[in-house]
Protein backbone atom coordinates (compact mmCIF):
# COMPACT_ATOMS: atom_id res chain seq x y z
CA UNK A 1 0.00 0.00 0.00
CA UNK A 2 2.74 2.34 0.97
CA UNK A 3 5.18 1.19 -1.67
CA UNK A 4 4.03 3.74 -4.25
CA UNK A 5 4.56 6.58 -1.79
CA UNK A 6 8.11 5.33 -1.15
CA UNK A 7 8.67 5.16 -4.91
CA UNK A 8 7.23 8.61 -5.19
CA UNK A 9 9.59 9.97 -2.56
CA UNK A 10 12.49 8.24 -4.30
CA UNK A 11 11.42 9.93 -7.52
CA UNK A 12 11.18 13.19 -5.67
CA UNK A 13 14.71 12.69 -4.29
CA UNK A 14 15.92 11.89 -7.79
CA UNK A 15 14.36 15.06 -9.04
CA UNK A 16 15.79 16.92 -6.04
CA UNK A 17 19.28 15.68 -6.78
CA UNK A 18 18.85 16.67 -10.42
CA UNK A 19 17.67 20.12 -9.37
CA UNK A 20 20.60 20.46 -6.99
CA UNK A 21 22.92 19.42 -9.80
CA UNK A 22 21.36 21.96 -12.12
CA UNK A 23 21.60 24.60 -9.40
CA UNK A 24 25.23 23.70 -8.87
CA UNK A 25 25.87 24.08 -12.58
CA UNK A 26 23.92 27.33 -12.75
CA UNK A 27 25.76 28.73 -9.74
CA UNK A 28 29.11 27.76 -11.14
CA UNK A 29 28.32 29.45 -14.45
CA UNK A 30 26.81 32.54 -12.80
CA UNK A 31 29.37 33.13 -10.09
CA UNK A 32 32.63 31.54 -11.05
CA UNK A 33 33.26 32.94 -14.55
CA UNK A 34 32.01 36.38 -13.41
CA UNK A 35 34.40 36.40 -10.48
CA UNK A 36 37.13 34.92 -12.65
CA UNK A 37 36.72 37.64 -15.27
CA UNK A 38 36.88 40.37 -12.66
CA UNK A 39 39.93 38.84 -11.04
CA UNK A 40 41.58 38.53 -14.44
CA UNK A 41 40.98 42.20 -15.21
CA UNK A 42 42.44 43.16 -11.85
CA UNK A 43 45.53 41.01 -12.29
CA UNK A 44 45.98 42.40 -15.78
CA UNK A 45 46.06 45.89 -14.31
CA UNK A 46 48.40 44.77 -11.59
CA UNK A 47 50.64 42.96 -14.05
CA UNK A 48 51.37 46.29 -15.67
CA UNK A 49 52.74 47.63 -12.40
CA UNK A 50 54.22 44.60 -10.67
CA UNK A 51 55.85 41.63 -12.42
CA UNK A 52 54.05 38.53 -11.10
CA UNK A 53 51.90 37.62 -8.14
CA UNK A 54 53.98 35.84 -5.56
CA UNK A 55 52.91 32.84 -3.56
CA UNK A 56 50.83 33.63 -0.46
CA UNK A 57 52.80 33.66 2.79
CA UNK A 58 51.85 31.93 6.04
CA UNK A 59 50.87 35.28 7.54
CA UNK A 60 48.62 36.10 4.58
CA UNK A 61 46.98 32.68 4.67
CA UNK A 62 46.45 33.11 8.42
CA UNK A 63 44.61 36.38 7.90
CA UNK A 64 42.70 34.89 4.97
CA UNK A 65 41.34 31.90 6.89
CA UNK A 66 41.62 32.36 10.62
CA UNK A 67 38.91 34.92 11.16
CA UNK A 68 36.42 33.63 8.66
CA UNK A 69 34.45 31.65 11.21
CA UNK A 70 35.43 33.29 14.48
CA UNK A 71 37.45 36.22 15.79
CA UNK A 72 41.09 35.50 15.06
CA UNK A 73 43.14 33.69 17.70
CA UNK A 74 46.56 35.24 18.17
CA UNK A 75 49.76 33.21 17.77
CA UNK A 76 50.88 34.01 21.33
CA UNK A 77 47.76 32.39 22.81
CA UNK A 78 49.18 28.89 22.44
CA UNK A 79 52.43 26.99 22.48
CA UNK A 80 54.02 25.47 19.38
CA UNK A 81 52.84 21.98 20.35
CA UNK A 82 49.28 23.15 20.98
CA UNK A 83 49.17 24.97 17.65
CA UNK A 84 50.14 21.81 15.86
CA UNK A 85 47.17 20.06 17.44
CA UNK A 86 44.73 22.92 16.94
CA UNK A 87 45.76 23.39 13.32
CA UNK A 88 45.01 19.72 12.69
CA UNK A 89 41.60 20.29 14.28
CA UNK A 90 41.01 23.39 12.12
CA UNK A 91 42.37 21.76 8.97
CA UNK A 92 39.75 19.04 9.28
CA UNK A 93 36.96 21.33 10.45
CA UNK A 94 37.52 24.04 7.86
CA UNK A 95 38.71 21.76 5.03
CA UNK A 96 41.99 23.62 4.60
CA UNK A 97 44.45 22.38 1.95
CA UNK A 98 47.47 20.56 3.40
CA UNK A 99 50.15 22.99 2.27
CA UNK A 100 48.20 26.05 3.38
CA UNK A 101 47.61 24.67 6.85
CA UNK A 102 51.31 23.78 7.14
CA UNK A 103 52.29 27.33 6.22
CA UNK A 104 49.81 28.78 8.70
CA UNK A 105 51.13 26.39 11.36
CA UNK A 106 54.68 27.54 10.70
CA UNK A 107 53.61 31.17 11.04
CA UNK A 108 51.78 30.47 14.30
CA UNK A 109 54.63 28.44 15.76
CA UNK A 110 57.20 31.00 14.81
CA UNK A 111 55.26 33.62 16.71
CA UNK A 112 53.82 31.34 19.36
CA UNK A 113 53.82 31.64 23.13
CA UNK A 114 56.33 28.79 23.00
Amino acid sequence: MNRPSSLKSRLWTGAGVAVLGALLYALSSVFVPGAGAKAEKKTEKRVEKKPEKKKLSGAELYSMHCNRCHPERYPTERTAAQWKTILLHMRVRANLPAEQSQMILKYLQDNSGR
Binding site: S6, W12, G16, M64, H70, T85, V92
Partner: protein
Amino acid sequence: MCCALAVPLPVGTAAAIDDQQFNELKDLVTKLGQKIEKQDLRIEQLEKTHAQDAQVHAQDQKTHEQDQRKIQELQQKLEETQQAVSNVQTAAIAVPVEPLPRVPLDEATVNHNFSILGDAEFQYAKTSGQHGTFLFADFAPIFLYRGGEKVLFEAGFDFGLQNNAPNSPGATTTINLSFAQLDYLMNDYVTLVAGDMVLPLGTYSERTAGWLNKIPDDPLPRDLLPGAGVGAQLRGAVPLGESGKLINYSVWGVNGASSADGTGNADQLDLGGNVGLRSDNAVANLHGKPSGGARVGWFMPFKPHYDLELGLSGQSGEWDNAGQHLWSAGVLDASLHLGSTVEVKGEYIRSCYGSDDHGNVRPEGWWLQASYKLVGLNLDWPVINNLELVNRYDSIHDGLGTRTRRYTLGYIYYFSNTLLFEGGYEFLHSNDPTQKDQLIFQLSYGF
Protein backbone atom coordinates in the same frame (compact mmCIF):
# COMPACT_ATOMS: atom_id res chain seq x y z
CA MET B 1 193.46 44.31 6.35
CA CYS B 2 193.80 46.80 9.10
CA CYS B 3 190.13 47.65 8.67
CA ALA B 4 189.32 44.02 8.54
CA LEU B 5 191.25 43.67 11.63
CA ALA B 6 189.84 46.79 13.06
CA VAL B 7 186.29 45.53 12.50
CA PRO B 8 186.75 42.33 14.28
CA LEU B 9 188.36 44.31 16.95
CA PRO B 10 185.39 45.36 18.68
CA VAL B 11 184.33 41.89 17.96
CA GLY B 12 187.54 41.07 19.50
CA THR B 13 186.47 43.35 22.32
CA ALA B 14 183.20 41.80 22.34
CA ALA B 15 184.93 38.72 22.05
CA ALA B 16 185.10 39.14 25.65
CA ILE B 17 181.70 37.13 25.25
CA ASP B 18 182.80 33.86 23.98
CA ASP B 19 181.43 31.99 21.05
CA GLN B 20 179.41 29.78 23.18
CA GLN B 21 177.71 32.66 24.80
CA PHE B 22 177.17 34.20 21.39
CA ASN B 23 175.58 31.05 20.14
CA GLU B 24 173.40 30.88 23.19
CA LEU B 25 172.37 34.49 22.66
CA LYS B 26 171.76 33.75 19.01
CA ASP B 27 169.59 30.84 19.95
CA LEU B 28 167.77 32.99 22.40
CA VAL B 29 167.21 35.67 19.82
CA THR B 30 165.99 33.10 17.31
CA LYS B 31 163.68 31.60 19.91
CA LEU B 32 162.41 35.03 20.84
CA GLY B 33 161.82 35.75 17.20
CA GLN B 34 159.89 32.57 16.87
CA LYS B 35 157.90 33.42 19.97
CA ILE B 36 157.09 36.82 18.61
CA GLU B 37 156.04 35.26 15.35
CA LYS B 38 153.72 32.95 17.28
CA GLN B 39 152.40 35.86 19.27
CA ASP B 40 151.76 37.75 16.06
CA LEU B 41 149.87 34.78 14.73
CA ARG B 42 147.78 34.60 17.83
CA ILE B 43 147.13 38.28 17.74
CA GLU B 44 146.15 37.95 14.13
CA GLN B 45 143.77 35.15 15.03
CA LEU B 46 142.39 37.12 17.93
CA GLU B 47 141.92 40.09 15.70
CA LYS B 48 140.10 37.94 13.21
CA THR B 49 137.84 36.56 15.93
CA HIS B 50 137.26 40.01 17.19
CA ALA B 51 136.31 41.20 13.74
CA GLN B 52 133.85 38.33 13.45
CA ASP B 53 132.44 39.21 16.86
CA ALA B 54 131.99 42.75 15.79
CA GLN B 55 130.14 41.63 12.71
CA VAL B 56 127.80 39.45 14.78
CA HIS B 57 127.28 42.31 17.15
CA ALA B 58 126.41 44.62 14.30
CA GLN B 59 123.88 42.09 13.09
CA ASP B 60 122.43 41.81 16.59
CA GLN B 61 122.11 45.51 16.68
CA LYS B 62 120.24 45.47 13.41
CA THR B 63 117.87 42.70 14.58
CA HIS B 64 117.26 44.58 17.76
CA GLU B 65 116.39 47.69 15.84
CA GLN B 66 114.04 45.72 13.61
CA ASP B 67 112.37 44.16 16.67
CA GLN B 68 111.98 47.55 18.21
CA ARG B 69 110.31 48.87 15.07
CA LYS B 70 107.98 45.88 14.95
CA ILE B 71 106.97 46.38 18.59
CA GLN B 72 106.17 49.95 17.81
CA GLU B 73 104.06 48.96 14.84
CA LEU B 74 102.17 46.38 16.92
CA GLN B 75 101.58 48.89 19.67
CA GLN B 76 100.08 51.24 17.14
CA LYS B 77 97.89 48.52 15.72
CA LEU B 78 96.70 47.52 19.21
CA GLU B 79 95.76 51.08 19.90
CA GLU B 80 93.80 51.24 16.65
CA THR B 81 91.98 47.97 17.47
CA GLN B 82 91.15 49.16 20.97
CA GLN B 83 89.73 52.31 19.49
CA ALA B 84 87.64 50.34 17.01
CA VAL B 85 86.30 48.08 19.78
CA SER B 86 85.29 50.98 21.95
CA ASN B 87 83.64 52.63 18.91
CA VAL B 88 81.57 49.47 18.28
CA GLN B 89 80.70 49.28 21.97
CA THR B 90 79.39 52.81 22.09
CA ALA B 91 77.46 52.22 18.86
CA ALA B 92 75.93 49.04 20.32
CA ILE B 93 74.74 50.93 23.37
CA ALA B 94 73.15 53.58 21.18
CA VAL B 95 71.20 51.04 18.94
CA PRO B 96 68.32 49.11 20.64
CA VAL B 97 69.23 45.48 21.29
CA GLU B 98 67.99 43.15 18.55
CA PRO B 99 66.08 40.06 19.77
CA LEU B 100 67.98 36.81 19.69
CA PRO B 101 67.05 34.46 16.87
CA ARG B 102 64.58 31.79 17.98
CA VAL B 103 65.89 28.35 18.76
CA PRO B 104 64.67 25.88 16.12
CA LEU B 105 61.80 23.67 17.24
CA ASP B 106 62.65 20.30 18.64
CA GLU B 107 60.06 18.23 16.77
CA ALA B 108 60.27 15.43 19.29
CA THR B 109 58.74 17.65 21.95
CA VAL B 110 55.72 18.41 19.82
CA ASN B 111 55.08 14.91 18.52
CA HIS B 112 52.12 14.01 20.70
CA ASN B 113 49.91 16.48 22.39
CA PHE B 114 46.78 16.65 24.47
CA SER B 115 44.97 19.97 24.49
CA ILE B 116 41.75 21.18 25.99
CA LEU B 117 39.83 24.00 24.41
CA GLY B 118 36.22 24.94 24.33
CA ASP B 119 33.80 27.56 25.43
CA ALA B 120 31.42 28.59 28.17
CA GLU B 121 28.19 30.57 28.02
CA PHE B 122 25.76 32.18 30.38
CA GLN B 123 22.39 33.21 29.04
CA TYR B 124 19.67 35.50 30.26
CA ALA B 125 16.38 35.63 28.44
CA LYS B 126 13.10 37.42 28.79
CA THR B 127 10.25 36.11 26.71
CA SER B 128 7.40 38.50 26.12
CA GLY B 129 4.70 37.95 28.76
CA GLN B 130 6.95 35.85 31.04
CA HIS B 131 9.45 36.50 33.83
CA GLY B 132 13.01 37.06 32.79
CA THR B 133 15.37 34.25 33.71
CA PHE B 134 19.00 33.30 33.71
CA LEU B 135 18.20 30.70 31.14
CA PHE B 136 21.21 28.49 31.38
CA ALA B 137 24.87 28.07 32.08
CA ASP B 138 26.80 26.00 29.64
CA PHE B 139 30.31 24.63 29.74
CA ALA B 140 31.52 23.03 26.52
CA PRO B 141 35.04 21.65 26.72
CA ILE B 142 36.71 20.13 23.66
CA PHE B 143 39.37 17.50 24.16
CA LEU B 144 41.95 17.09 21.42
CA TYR B 145 44.48 14.31 21.36
CA ARG B 146 47.01 14.36 18.53
CA GLY B 147 49.17 11.34 17.85
CA GLY B 148 52.03 12.41 15.61
CA GLU B 149 51.33 14.15 12.33
CA LYS B 150 48.27 12.37 11.04
CA VAL B 151 45.92 11.32 13.80
CA LEU B 152 43.61 13.51 15.83
CA PHE B 153 40.93 12.45 18.23
CA GLU B 154 38.46 15.17 19.09
CA ALA B 155 35.57 15.09 21.49
CA GLY B 156 33.27 17.91 22.50
CA PHE B 157 30.98 17.83 25.51
CA ASP B 158 28.22 20.11 26.60
CA PHE B 159 27.51 20.45 30.28
CA GLY B 160 24.34 22.48 30.74
CA LEU B 161 21.92 23.46 33.39
CA GLN B 162 18.26 23.48 32.52
CA ASN B 163 15.21 24.58 34.47
CA ASN B 164 12.84 21.73 35.19
CA ALA B 165 9.40 21.71 33.68
CA PRO B 166 6.78 24.02 35.19
CA ASN B 167 5.40 22.71 38.50
CA SER B 168 8.48 20.61 39.25
CA PRO B 169 11.23 22.11 41.39
CA GLY B 170 14.86 22.77 40.63
CA ALA B 171 17.04 22.37 37.59
CA THR B 172 18.70 19.48 35.83
CA THR B 173 22.28 19.20 34.72
CA THR B 174 22.57 17.73 31.27
CA ILE B 175 25.68 16.28 29.68
CA ASN B 176 25.72 15.87 25.94
CA LEU B 177 28.34 14.48 23.66
CA SER B 178 28.38 17.03 20.86
CA PHE B 179 30.91 15.11 18.83
CA ALA B 180 33.55 12.42 19.29
CA GLN B 181 35.49 11.71 16.15
CA LEU B 182 38.75 10.28 14.96
CA ASP B 183 40.45 12.10 12.07
CA TYR B 184 43.09 10.38 9.99
CA LEU B 185 44.92 12.35 7.31
CA MET B 186 45.21 9.77 4.54
CA ASN B 187 47.02 12.18 2.22
CA ASP B 188 47.04 15.88 1.28
CA TYR B 189 43.57 15.66 -0.24
CA VAL B 190 41.68 13.07 1.76
CA THR B 191 40.96 12.88 5.48
CA LEU B 192 39.02 9.99 6.95
CA VAL B 193 36.70 10.90 9.81
CA ALA B 194 34.82 8.35 11.89
CA GLY B 195 32.64 8.49 14.97
CA ASP B 196 30.04 10.93 16.15
CA MET B 197 30.61 13.74 13.68
CA VAL B 198 29.38 17.28 13.27
CA LEU B 199 27.81 17.22 9.82
CA PRO B 200 28.63 19.67 7.03
CA LEU B 201 25.00 19.79 6.01
CA GLY B 202 25.17 23.48 5.35
CA THR B 203 27.87 25.16 7.41
CA TYR B 204 26.08 26.30 10.53
CA SER B 205 26.59 23.29 12.79
CA GLU B 206 30.24 22.88 11.81
CA ARG B 207 30.88 26.54 12.50
CA THR B 208 29.14 27.02 15.79
CA ALA B 209 30.20 27.33 19.38
CA GLY B 210 28.93 29.89 21.82
CA TRP B 211 31.79 32.32 21.24
CA LEU B 212 31.43 32.25 17.49
CA ASN B 213 27.69 32.52 17.00
CA LYS B 214 26.92 36.17 16.63
CA ILE B 215 23.40 35.69 17.97
CA PRO B 216 22.85 33.51 21.07
CA ASP B 217 20.30 31.15 19.59
CA ASP B 218 20.28 29.10 16.39
CA PRO B 219 18.49 30.10 13.19
CA LEU B 220 15.00 28.54 13.16
CA PRO B 221 15.36 26.43 10.00
CA ARG B 222 18.31 24.54 11.51
CA ASP B 223 15.57 22.50 13.23
CA LEU B 224 15.04 20.86 9.85
CA LEU B 225 18.54 19.31 9.80
CA PRO B 226 20.58 16.97 11.98
CA GLY B 227 23.61 18.72 13.52
CA ALA B 228 25.61 15.54 14.00
CA GLY B 229 25.54 11.91 13.00
CA VAL B 230 27.29 8.65 13.81
CA GLY B 231 29.18 7.21 10.87
CA ALA B 232 32.15 7.81 8.63
CA GLN B 233 33.21 10.58 6.30
CA LEU B 234 35.86 11.43 3.71
CA ARG B 235 36.73 15.10 3.35
CA GLY B 236 39.40 17.42 2.08
CA ALA B 237 40.29 20.34 -0.11
CA VAL B 238 41.92 20.94 -3.45
CA PRO B 239 43.63 24.31 -3.97
CA LEU B 240 43.04 26.04 -7.30
CA GLY B 241 46.23 27.87 -8.22
CA GLU B 242 48.28 30.08 -5.93
CA SER B 243 45.70 32.75 -5.12
CA GLY B 244 44.11 30.83 -2.25
CA LYS B 245 41.02 29.68 -4.18
CA LEU B 246 39.95 26.19 -3.32
CA ILE B 247 37.28 23.56 -3.62
CA ASN B 248 36.40 21.58 -0.55
CA TYR B 249 34.29 18.47 -0.26
CA SER B 250 32.83 16.02 2.22
CA VAL B 251 31.10 12.69 1.60
CA TRP B 252 29.54 10.76 4.46
CA GLY B 253 27.40 7.88 5.58
CA VAL B 254 25.60 8.13 8.94
CA ASN B 255 22.90 6.28 10.86
CA GLY B 256 20.24 9.03 11.03
CA ALA B 257 17.60 9.97 10.23
CA SER B 258 15.35 7.48 11.96
CA SER B 259 12.02 7.11 13.62
CA ALA B 260 11.64 7.65 17.33
CA ASP B 261 9.05 4.91 17.76
CA GLY B 262 9.52 2.91 14.59
CA THR B 263 6.36 4.14 12.89
CA GLY B 264 6.30 6.32 9.82
CA ASN B 265 4.28 9.08 11.45
CA ALA B 266 5.54 12.53 10.60
CA ASP B 267 6.00 13.65 14.20
CA GLN B 268 8.26 10.67 14.95
CA LEU B 269 11.04 11.79 12.61
CA ASP B 270 14.27 11.78 14.64
CA LEU B 271 16.92 13.53 12.56
CA GLY B 272 20.18 12.58 14.23
CA GLY B 273 18.85 9.38 15.76
CA ASN B 274 19.70 5.71 15.52
CA VAL B 275 23.14 5.58 17.08
CA GLY B 276 23.30 1.81 16.72
CA LEU B 277 23.61 0.67 20.34
CA ARG B 278 20.59 0.01 22.52
CA SER B 279 20.69 0.90 26.20
CA ASP B 280 21.03 -2.82 26.99
CA ASN B 281 24.25 -2.75 24.88
CA ALA B 282 22.81 -4.86 22.08
CA VAL B 283 23.75 -3.72 18.59
CA ALA B 284 20.57 -2.75 16.87
CA ASN B 285 19.69 -0.85 13.76
CA LEU B 286 16.87 1.17 15.16
CA HIS B 287 14.13 2.31 12.86
CA GLY B 288 15.86 3.46 9.71
CA LYS B 289 18.67 2.59 7.33
CA PRO B 290 21.90 4.58 7.21
CA SER B 291 21.76 7.64 5.00
CA GLY B 292 24.36 9.24 2.75
CA GLY B 293 25.30 12.85 2.20
CA ALA B 294 27.79 15.17 0.60
CA ARG B 295 28.85 18.79 0.42
CA VAL B 296 30.91 20.72 -2.15
CA GLY B 297 32.15 24.21 -1.42
CA TRP B 298 34.00 26.89 -3.38
CA PHE B 299 36.11 29.29 -1.43
CA MET B 300 37.15 32.36 -3.37
CA PRO B 301 39.39 34.84 -1.59
CA PHE B 302 40.09 38.08 -3.43
CA LYS B 303 42.61 39.23 -0.84
CA PRO B 304 42.90 38.67 2.92
CA HIS B 305 39.52 39.50 4.58
CA TYR B 306 37.71 39.67 1.25
CA ASP B 307 36.19 36.35 0.27
CA LEU B 308 33.13 34.49 -0.87
CA GLU B 309 32.26 30.89 -0.11
CA LEU B 310 29.40 29.01 -1.70
CA GLY B 311 28.38 25.51 -0.77
CA LEU B 312 25.84 22.95 -1.77
CA SER B 313 25.05 19.93 0.37
CA GLY B 314 22.49 17.22 0.80
CA GLN B 315 21.65 14.05 2.69
CA SER B 316 19.16 11.31 2.05
CA GLY B 317 18.10 7.96 3.51
CA GLU B 318 15.19 5.80 4.69
CA TRP B 319 14.00 6.85 8.09
CA ASP B 320 11.13 4.64 9.24
CA ASN B 321 11.41 1.07 10.50
CA ALA B 322 9.48 -0.45 7.62
CA GLY B 323 11.76 1.22 5.10
CA GLN B 324 8.81 2.82 3.38
CA HIS B 325 9.86 6.42 3.55
CA LEU B 326 12.80 8.49 2.52
CA TRP B 327 14.02 11.60 4.28
CA SER B 328 16.08 14.04 2.19
CA ALA B 329 17.45 17.51 2.65
CA GLY B 330 19.37 19.98 0.51
CA VAL B 331 21.17 23.11 1.67
CA LEU B 332 22.65 26.03 -0.19
CA ASP B 333 25.06 28.03 1.94
CA ALA B 334 26.91 31.28 1.31
CA SER B 335 29.28 33.47 3.27
CA LEU B 336 30.80 36.77 2.23
CA HIS B 337 33.46 38.95 3.88
CA LEU B 338 34.14 42.50 2.76
CA GLY B 339 37.10 43.63 4.81
CA SER B 340 37.44 42.77 8.46
CA THR B 341 34.23 44.67 9.34
CA VAL B 342 31.48 43.31 7.07
CA GLU B 343 30.16 39.77 7.07
CA VAL B 344 27.06 38.38 5.35
CA LYS B 345 26.11 34.73 5.54
CA GLY B 346 23.12 32.53 5.22
CA GLU B 347 21.58 29.22 4.23
CA TYR B 348 18.62 28.05 2.22
CA ILE B 349 17.27 24.71 3.40
CA ARG B 350 14.77 22.36 1.81
CA SER B 351 13.78 18.97 2.99
CA CYS B 352 11.25 16.34 2.11
CA TYR B 353 10.12 13.15 3.78
CA GLY B 354 7.42 10.61 3.25
CA SER B 355 5.11 9.80 6.15
CA ASP B 356 2.24 7.42 6.96
CA ASP B 357 -0.04 10.13 8.19
CA HIS B 358 0.75 13.21 6.13
CA GLY B 359 2.09 11.83 2.87
CA ASN B 360 5.07 13.79 1.59
CA VAL B 361 6.03 16.58 3.93
CA ARG B 362 8.14 19.43 2.54
CA PRO B 363 9.60 21.68 5.18
CA GLU B 364 11.76 24.58 4.11
CA GLY B 365 13.42 27.66 5.51
CA TRP B 366 16.23 30.13 5.19
CA TRP B 367 18.25 32.57 7.22
CA LEU B 368 20.42 35.51 6.34
CA GLN B 369 22.68 37.34 8.77
CA ALA B 370 24.60 40.55 8.20
CA SER B 371 26.99 42.10 10.67
CA TYR B 372 29.14 45.19 10.82
CA LYS B 373 32.01 46.02 13.19
CA LEU B 374 31.78 49.68 14.16
CA VAL B 375 35.56 50.02 14.24
CA GLY B 376 35.12 50.51 10.49
CA LEU B 377 33.66 53.95 11.18
CA ASN B 378 37.04 55.15 12.49
CA LEU B 379 35.44 57.02 15.39
CA ASP B 380 37.56 57.96 18.34
CA TRP B 381 34.92 57.07 20.95
CA PRO B 382 35.68 54.75 23.85
CA VAL B 383 33.21 51.83 23.60
CA ILE B 384 32.27 51.96 19.97
CA ASN B 385 35.32 50.27 18.47
CA ASN B 386 34.57 47.05 20.36
CA LEU B 387 31.00 46.83 19.12
CA GLU B 388 29.55 44.83 16.28
CA LEU B 389 25.96 45.19 15.09
CA VAL B 390 24.14 42.08 13.87
CA ASN B 391 20.91 41.55 11.96
CA ARG B 392 19.37 38.23 11.18
CA TYR B 393 16.28 37.23 9.34
CA ASP B 394 15.12 33.64 9.63
CA SER B 395 12.10 31.82 8.42
CA ILE B 396 10.79 28.27 8.71
CA HIS B 397 7.86 26.36 7.35
CA ASP B 398 7.58 22.92 8.94
CA GLY B 399 5.66 21.46 6.02
CA LEU B 400 2.68 20.72 8.26
CA GLY B 401 1.24 24.20 8.31
CA THR B 402 3.28 26.15 10.87
CA ARG B 403 5.14 29.16 9.53
CA THR B 404 7.41 31.34 11.63
CA ARG B 405 9.36 34.38 10.61
CA ARG B 406 11.75 36.19 12.90
CA TYR B 407 13.85 39.31 12.71
CA THR B 408 16.65 39.78 15.22
CA LEU B 409 18.50 42.98 15.92
CA GLY B 410 21.56 42.40 18.03
CA TYR B 411 24.99 43.50 19.08
CA ILE B 412 28.23 42.00 20.31
CA TYR B 413 30.56 43.76 22.67
CA TYR B 414 34.08 42.31 22.46
CA PHE B 415 35.92 42.49 25.79
CA SER B 416 38.62 40.59 23.94
CA ASN B 417 38.80 38.34 20.90
CA THR B 418 37.33 35.51 22.99
CA LEU B 419 35.23 37.16 25.69
CA LEU B 420 32.01 38.47 24.18
CA PHE B 421 28.87 39.99 25.58
CA GLU B 422 26.10 39.70 23.07
CA GLY B 423 22.44 40.56 23.07
CA GLY B 424 19.50 40.81 20.78
CA TYR B 425 15.82 41.40 20.47
CA GLU B 426 13.84 38.90 18.41
CA PHE B 427 10.68 40.07 16.68
CA LEU B 428 8.62 37.01 15.94
CA HIS B 429 5.67 36.39 13.64
CA SER B 430 4.12 32.97 13.70
CA ASN B 431 0.81 31.18 13.29
CA ASP B 432 1.88 29.17 16.34
CA PRO B 433 0.68 31.33 19.26
CA THR B 434 3.15 29.81 21.76
CA GLN B 435 6.05 31.49 19.96
CA LYS B 436 6.76 35.00 21.18
CA ASP B 437 9.15 37.90 20.97
CA GLN B 438 12.24 37.50 23.11
CA LEU B 439 15.03 39.58 24.59
CA ILE B 440 18.20 37.57 25.04
CA PHE B 441 21.68 38.21 26.41
CA GLN B 442 24.68 35.95 26.49
CA LEU B 443 28.17 36.13 27.88
CA SER B 444 30.45 33.80 25.94
CA TYR B 445 34.03 32.82 26.43
CA GLY B 446 36.18 30.72 24.15
CA PHE B 447 39.25 29.13 25.70
